[in-house]
């Protein structure tokens, strides 16, 4: 079968339709698979982000496979015969085709953009994207739903290289972040030295911590478990070790943790960097220059960052 007059024959058309159908199936399957590439969903933001990602994976898979199919087809079917030095039939362009293939990507990306803006807006209403203090009208009219008013605020202090969490309402400080499930929380993110990134993959949320600014950041955890908080904006030598655990627990558990914590004396919190820095000093050839780590924060509860985590 040659492809010289593909449009007029029914057989190639049926073949094409079957192939496109197959690609659609694969794309749908990939978009379902995409959820498995992501960590567990542990915040209200996570399902929204994952839904968008899944949609993009589906569309992307289809576009990718369609383009690759054409490439594979021409490589198989449109190869020059050996010793054939002649040129192919000169087709210089086709305005109608060019218009179509400008329109298709335009429509596709605008569809994705609209979807993404809607997710953005929802996330904004839920809290996490509103740290810039463009107050939304709902809030100004005092109509902010009560269950979304964060009852708990946590001050997050990022340093080279440790995380400290303070609960001003309870007078507690810790180097392990404890949150109550399904309760909105407001963070106040500050840095004492350089840029850091407040990133909890299981929550799908990330916000740079900028020295000289206090950034308000809201979220609502939705799943109990132990997760990782990772520094996501390069902060120097022990950047990779600047991680803390996030424990999401039930409301009552959280209250009793706070109560117990408040009774503990201040002690050194977790700082892997301080430990490594001390060991490094003993080496004869420790490496290149580094800023020394800040001393470990003095906290009520050091917590742990070595227990198994869910994500």
């Amino acid at each position: 079968m040659t492809s010289s007059t593909p449009r007029l024959r029914p057989l190639p058309l049926i073949g094409l339709a079957l192939w496109v159908g197959l690609l659609v199936l694969v794309s749908v399957w990939m978009s379902q698979q995409s959820y498995r590439w992501l960590p567990v969903q542990a915040s209200t933001a996570a399902p929204l982000v994952d839904g968008l990602f899944s949609f993009e994976t589906g569309v992307g898979t289809f576009v990718f496979l369609a383009v690759i199919s054409v490439m594979a087809w021409v490589m198989l079917m449109h190869r020059a015969e050996k010793y054939d030095e002649s040129d192919a039939e000169p087709i210089e362009g086709n305005t109608r085709l060019e218009v179509i293939w400008t329109a298709i990507p335009f429509v596709l990306v605008m569809a994705i953009a609209i979807y993404a803006i809607r997710v953005n807006t929802t996330l904004g209403v839920l809290g996490p994207m509103e740290h810039i203090h463009v107050r939304d009208p709902l809030e100004q009219q005092g109509g902010y739903p009560g269950d979304r008013l964060p009852p708990e605020s946590v001050e997050v202090i990022a340093r080279q290289w440790s995380w400290e969490f303070r609960y001003p309402n309870s007078g507690v400080s810790s180097t392990e972040l404890h949150l109550a499930v399904d309760q909105p929380v407001t963070f106040r993110l500050v840095s004492e030295d350089v840029l850091h990134g407040f990133y909890i993959p299981a929550f799908r949320l990330k916000q740079d911590v900028v020295p000289g600014r206090a950034i308000d950041f809201n979220l609502t955890p939705t799943r109990e478990g132990r997760y990782r908080l990772r520094d996501s904006q390069f902060s120097g030598t022990w950047f990779a070790a600047n991680q803390a655990d996030v424990v999401v627990e039930s409301g009552p558990d959280h209250l009793s943790w706070l109560k117990q914590a408040a009774g503990q004396p201040l002690q050194s919190g977790i700082s892997d960097a301080v430990q490594e820095y001390a060991e490094r000093g003993k080496k004869s050839n420790p490496g290149w220059a580094t800023v020394p780590p800040a001393p470990p924060p003095q906290v009520n509860v050091p917590g742990s960052n070595t227990l198994p985590h869910d994500a």
Partner: protein, 557 residues
Amino acid sequence: MTSATFPASEPKPSWTRYFSFNTDAKVIGIQYIVLAFFYFLIGGLLAMIIRGELITPAADLVDRTVYNGIYTMHGTIMLFLFIFPVLNGLNNLLIPTMIGAPDMAFPRLNAVAFWLVPIFGTLLIASFFVPGGPAYSGWWSYPPVSIQNPLGHLVSGQGLWLTAVALSGVSSIMGAVNFVTTIIRMRAPGMGWFRMPVFCWTALAAQTLQLIGLPALTGGAVMLLFDLVAGTSFYRPEGGGDPVLYQHFFWFYSHPAVYVIILPVFGIFSELFPVYARKPLFGYVYVALASFIIVGLGLVVWVHHMFPSGVAQWMRNLFMVTTMLISVPTGVKVFAWLGTLWRGKLRLTTPMLFCLGGLFNFVFAGITGIMLATVPVDIHVSNTYFVVGHFHYVIYGAAVMGVFAAIYHWFPKFIGRMPYEGLGKLHFLLTFVGANLNFLPMHPLGLMGMPRRVSSYDPEFAFWNVLASLGAFLLGVSIIPFLLNMVSSWVLGPRATHNPWNAIGLEWLLPSPPAEDNFGEHVPTVISRPYGYGLGQPLVENQEAIERELNLQEARA
């Protein structure tokens, strides 16, 4: 009349001219490319150390300070000392010969721009040996980390880094002035804008971006240098400065910089697909103009690198939309290449394989790029390995593969000898498999939440990292057949005729290698569009006579 064009026996120029201040664009082009590959080997070696460290979760191969210095220098060397210089080398070889100019508009400026490269390259490499080690704050060099200067000396790795980057900016501006002027002023008679090869269109677009963007980077870097060594507070929060301001300066240039890299590669694809598919470039005018649409949009997307930095919601949405729009002219090009291939008579030579492989990788990168453009997904994967995977697909998978394609395709023209196909195909296979094995696993890692720039990681990331490291080592091996091929064919390869690929273009109407002043006084008059494969029209007046003369000359040799 044409016989005077090509004196039959020129004195063979000495190889030592490659080590001198030479003003011939063809010499400068080769100087750029060879020097760039020297730095490519250094940058690649550093990449091997990175992947060696990351093959296990713990930071156990090198000290963390060393890791940070090495990943910073890897990125910096690869961008400023490999990819920009190698592309400028191609510009030097191709722009004058493709438009029929004897040389660049400002040959001395051209040579100065080149010689700045080894100067700032040496400065950068020297920073490995200053007390305290090289810069370690990434190729973004975001303050305040980049101005912490742990030893407090006046001369620090970071200071040398900033000086080198500023010099690189000066060199690139000089180059850009030259390329833009040459393309605008020195085209052969009859070569109107819409008879100009697409490579020249993309070079013009890319160099225009350099001229607009580089002052921002250079200004931003000089202010950073002042903060570092003179105690100013442009970006120091303690002194009332704003670290986020630097990010705007930096990305206002550095986003367009990615188009400076990829546009010429689009040019290479657009040149090579027609040759090896034996068909005209599909929709030539549209492809040519799309480059300038990309330039316009490319200048207004930089905030997509700053979505988690703390920018307003409306800005996030706005820059998301502009970023998505760029995929439209880009998609147009991809479809035009497919249209060119469709029902062609494909010849899967080494350069063609590199183009096809590069296109494959580029399409993949485009899709992850759209994902990164959408704010909610970007918030999750920004600064993770997803981004590292994405941009290595662009830069290695598409740009470096395109550069290899260009080298294999134009090697006969400028060296006068044919590269070996067998070694070339082996090189392609190792590169394609190695790049995919190296960079594909980075995407799941990023989705799982592994940050970039880490010297250690949690054990759940080990599996994909082992795969990535194996791919990296394969990529390391892939360079061996390339180097073997280049050296052996340069010395021993079969002599190349003036047009071994049966390609259409002014450069293929010159002997291989061309005389120093290319066409000299006898610049042919262009009478048709480029890529007239299968149309049977000559490209220039008197084409038959010119070709007859070249054939005679080759028969005599």
